[in-house]
C-alpha cells in the first residue's frame, strides 16, 4: 500500500507539489496523469526516498519496485545476468532456471535471455526491470511513463502484465500521458496540475476520449 499525506515539496522557491494526498491500496492500479512539470516524477522520487518532502508523510507497505521511463541496465550483461545481479542486490539469489522462469513470465523471448542487453528494445528492457521487481516479490510498483516509446502490442502486453500483478495483490502507481493506456489499465486516475491534485476518479467504463475530456476540464 502507498499512502501520501499532505506532501509538499519545493525546489528552491518553486513549489513542485502542494499538499498532495494519495492512497493506492493492494490490488489497485492508480494512474497519475498530468502535463509536463505537474509533479508526477517528483511524486515517485519522493516515494522512493530519492527526495525528501518539505512537509507531510509518506507510508509504503511492502517491497517497492521502480520502473523508470527509460529502463537503464548494464549493457555488457545479458538480460538474465542483469536480473540475477539486481535480484542479488536485493538479497535474492536466483538460480538460472528461476531467472529464466521470471523472464518467461514477463514474456521476454527465450532467445534474448542470454543476449547482451545492448541489443534489447525499450520494451524488452522494461520486461527485465519488471522481472527484477518480481524476483524481489515486490508488492508496490512505481512506473514512470511506462508506455512512452512502446508499440501498441507492447503496451497491451504491459497492461496485461500489470493487471496480473494487481490481481496478485500489488499496489501499482504509474505516471503517464497515455490516456488510452490509462483507460485499459487503471482502476483509478488522479490528475495533477501545477503540483496540486485537481481531480481523482474511478476509470471503470470510461474510454480514452472521456478521460481526455475529464482531464481537460480538470486542468
Amino acid at each position: 500500500m502507498i499512502q501520501l499525506q499532505n506532501i509538499s515539496k519545493a525546489f528552491g522557491s518553486r513549489p513542485v507539489l502542494q499538499n498532495l494526498s494519495l492512497q493506492v491500496d493492494r490490488g489497485r492500479i492508480l494512474g497519475l496523469l498530468g502535463g509536463n512539470g505537474a509533479g508526477k516524477t517528483t511524486t515517485l522520487n519522493l516515494i522512493l526516498g530519492f527526495l525528501q518532502p518539505d512537509s507531510g508523510t509518506i507510508t509504503v507497505t511492502g517491497e517497492t519496485a521502480y520502473i523508470p521511463e527509460n529502463v537503464a541496465l548494464y549493457p555488457e550483461l545479458s538480460g538474465l545476468e542483469n536480473l540475477r545481479a539486481f535480484a542479488a542486490l536485493a538479497g535474492r539469489d536466483l538460480s538460472t532456471q528461476e531467472g529464466e522462469n521470471l523472464l518467461a513470465r514477463v514474456k521476454l523471448p527465450a532467445e534474448a535471455m542470454s543476449r547482451r542487453l545492448a541489443s534489447y528494445s525499450k520494451g524488452m528492457r522494461q520486461r527485465v526491470a519488471i522481472a527484477i521487481a518480481l524476483a524481489r516479490q515486490a508488492q508496490v510498483f512505481l512506473l514512470d511513463e511506462p508506455t512512452t516509446g512502446l508499440d501498441p502490442a507492447a503496451v497491451h502486453d504491459l497492461a496485461t502484465l500489470l493487471r496480473q500483478l494487481a490481481q496478485d495483490g500489488a499496489a501499482i502507481l504509474l505516471t503517464t500521458h497515455d490516456l488510452w493506456h490509462l483507460s485499459i489499465d487503471s482502476d483509478e486516475v488522479a490528475i495533477l496540475s501545477a503540483g496540486r491534485l485537481v481531480d481523482r476518479f474511478e476509470v471503470a467504463g470510461q474510454d480514452a476520449a472521456q478521460l481526455a475530456q475529464r482531464y481537460m476540464q480538470a486542468k
Binding site: V71, Y74, E76, F86, A88, L89
Partner: protein, 453 residues
C-alpha cells in the same frame, strides 16, 4: 556486499579496460623486477670484483717497487682502498638513492673530503620521482590503475541511468555501493601487486621473513590514501568525464607537482653546500699549503694529533711524506664545518621531506619503502660515515710507518688494511601509521552525491 561484488565483477571482467590496466600493471611490474634484478646483479658484481681489483693494484705496486722497495709514502700514495656498502636484498625492489649515490668509494691516504664527493648527490634527473623499480610500480602505477578503475564507479552508472534502479533495490545506499565497488578494485590491484611481489621473491630469492613481507605490507598500505582519493572523486563527480579529469588532475598534482614543490621548498629552506664546493675548498687549501711555510701547517696537524709529536718538525725545503699527508689532513679539517653543515642540512632536508611526504602519497610510500630497503639518504650517510672511519683506520695504520720513514719492500701489500665491515644499511623502523592516518583523514570527504543530484 557479496551481491554488489558479484554484479560488479561480472561487469568488470567484460570491460577491456580492466584487463588492459591490470595487465599493463603486471607487465610493468615484471619489467621492474627484471630491471631490479639486473641492478642488484650489477651492484653485487661490482662489489665482488673489488677484491680482485685491489689485489691487481697491489700486484702492480709490488712489481713497480720489486727491486729495492720504496718509501712507505709512495706505496700509500699510489694505493686505493675500496669501501663498499652491500645492498640489502630488498634494494632490488626499491633502489632509492643507490643509483645516484656511490655505494663503492675508493679512498687513499690523501685528504678524504675531496674523495667523498667525486660523484655528486645532486643529479636532478635521476633524483626525480620515478626510478623504474617495483616501488615505483606499486607506489605510483598501481595507484594510477586504482584511480582509473575506480574514478567513475558511481558517475558511470549515473550517466548510464542505472543509478536510480540500483538504489531502488534497497542494497544499502550509495555509500555501501561505492565501498563495495572500490574495495573490489582495490582487491584486484592488491592481487596483481601481491602476485608481482611473489614473483619478485622467487626471482630475486628474497628470504621469506618479516622484513620481506613488511615491504609488501608498506607498499599495500600506500594504496589506502589513493583509495580514499579515488573514493572522493567517485563520490563527488557528476559525470564520468568529470571524474576522469579530476582523477588525472589529482594524479599529476600528487605525483609530479607536489614532490617538485616540496623539493623546491626544502632546497630553499635548507641549502646544502654541493660536494663540488667542498672538494674545491679542500683542494685549494691543500694546494696553498705548498706555498706556505711547512712547520706552521704541520704544527696545526700535531695540535690535533698528539700521538705523532715524537716527530715534532718537518724540513722547510725538502719534501717529506709526513708533511705531505699532514697537510692533507689539515685541509680536511679546514672544511670540517662545511662538511658538518652539508651533513646536517641533508639530514634536515631528509627529515622534512619525510614530514612533507604526507602531502604526496607516492612520495610517502617511496620514502617508507626506500627506508625499509636501506637505500635512502640515511643509508648513503652511513656509507660516508663508514668511509670516514675506514680512512681513519688507514691513517692509523700507515702514519706511524710513514712518519718513521719506513721503506716497504716486496710483500708489503700483504699487510695493507682491507675493508671488512661490509654490512648493508639497516632498515628504517617500520611505521605503518602515516598512510593509515592519511587515508583516515581523507575518507570522510567521500560522501556520495544524492541519486538525483
Amino acid at each position: 556486499m557479496k551481491a554488489l561484488w558479484h554484479l560488479d565483477w561480472l561487469r568488470l571482467r567484460r570491460q577491456a579496460a580492466t584487463w588492459f590496466l591490470l595487465g599493463g600493471l603486471f607487465l610493468a611490474g615484471l619489467t621492474a623486477i627484471y630491471l631490479g634484478k639486473k641492478f642488484q646483479e650489477q651492484q653485487q658484481a661490482e662489489i665482488s670484483r673489488l677484491d680482485a681489483q685491489f689485489q691487481a693494484q697491489c700486484d702492480r705496486l709490488e712489481h713497480r717497487y720489486r727491486e729495492n722497495g720504496e718509501h712507505s709514502g709512495y706505496w700509500s700514495y699510489y694505493s686505493f682502498y675500496p669501501v663498499h656498502q652491500p645492498p640489502r636484498p630488498l634494494a632490488a625492489l626499491s633502489w632509492g638513492l643507490r643509483d645516484v649515490a656511490p655505494f663503492v668509494t675508493w679512498v687513499r691516504l690523501l685528504g678524504l673530503e675531496q674523495q667523498l664527493y667525486e660523484s655528486s648527490l645532486a643529479n636532478p634527473l635521476l633524483q626525480s620521482l620515478g626510478q623504474f623499480d617495483l616501488a615505483f610500480v606499486l607506489g605510483v602505477l598501481a595507484p594510477l590503475v586504482l584511480l582509473l578503475l575506480g574514478h567513475d564507479v558511481l558517475s558511470r552508472d549515473r550517466q548510464l541511468g542505472v543509478l536510480p534502479l540500483l538504489a531502488a533495490q534497497g542494497g544499502g545506499g550509495l555509500l555501501r555501493m561505492l565501498a563495495a565497488r572500490l574495495l573490489l578494485r582495490l582487491l584486484l590491484v592488491v592481487i596483481v601487486c601481491s602476485l608481482l611481489f611473489g614473483i619478485a621473491m622467487i626471482i630475486l630469492q628474497l628470504p621469506p621473513g618479516f622484513d620481506t613481507f613488511a615491504w609488501l605490507f608498506i607498499a599495500l598500505l600506500g594504496l589506502l590514501p589513493w583509495l580514499a582519493i579515488t573514493a572522493i572523486i567517485a563520490a563527488r563527480s557528476r559525470s564520468a568525464t568529470g571524474s576522469l579529469a579530476a582523477a588525472m588532475a589529482a594524479f599529476v598534482s600528487l605525483v609530479l607537482l607536489m614532490p617538485a614543490l616540496v623539493n623546491l621548498a626544502l632546497s630553499t629552506l635548507f641549502p646544502v653546500p654541493e660536494g663540488l664546493e667542498l672538494t674545491v675548498r679542500q683542494r685549494q687549501i691543500m694546494h696553498d699549503g705548498w706555498d706556505q711555510p711547512r712547520q706552521p701547517n704541520y704544527d696545526r696537524f700535531l695540535a690535533e694529533r698528539p700521538e705523532y709529536r715524537k716527530w715534532p718538525t718537518v724540513p722547510e725545503k725538502d719534501f717529506t711524506w709526513r708533511w705531505y699527508f699532514a697537510m692533507h689532513e689539515v685541509a680536511d679539517r679546514s672544511v670540517a664545518e662545511l662538511v658538518n653543515q652539508h651533513t646536517q642540512h641533508l639530514r634536515q632536508r631528509h627529515a622534512w621531506s619525510q614530514r612533507l611526504a604526507w602531502l604526496s602519497p607516492p612520495a610517502l610510500t617511496q620514502s617508507l619503502l626506500s627506508g625499509h630497503s636501506g637505500t635512502d639518504l640515511d643509508a648513503h650517510l652511513l656509507h660516508l660515515e663508514t668511509t670516514r672511519n675506514f680512512h681513519e683506520h688507514l691513517k692509523a695504520h700507515f702514519f706511524p710507518l710513514i712518519f718513521d720513514e719506513t721503506h716497504f719492500t716486496a710483500g708489503a701489500t700483504k699487510s695493507f688494511p682491507r675493508f671488512q665491515n661490509s654490512a648493508p644499511a639497516p632498515a628504517a623502523p617500520l611505521n605503518p601509521l602515516p598512510p593509515l592516518l592519511l587515508a583516515a583523514l581523507l575518507l570522510p570527504f567521500a560522501r556520495p552525491r544524492p541519486v538525483l543530484s
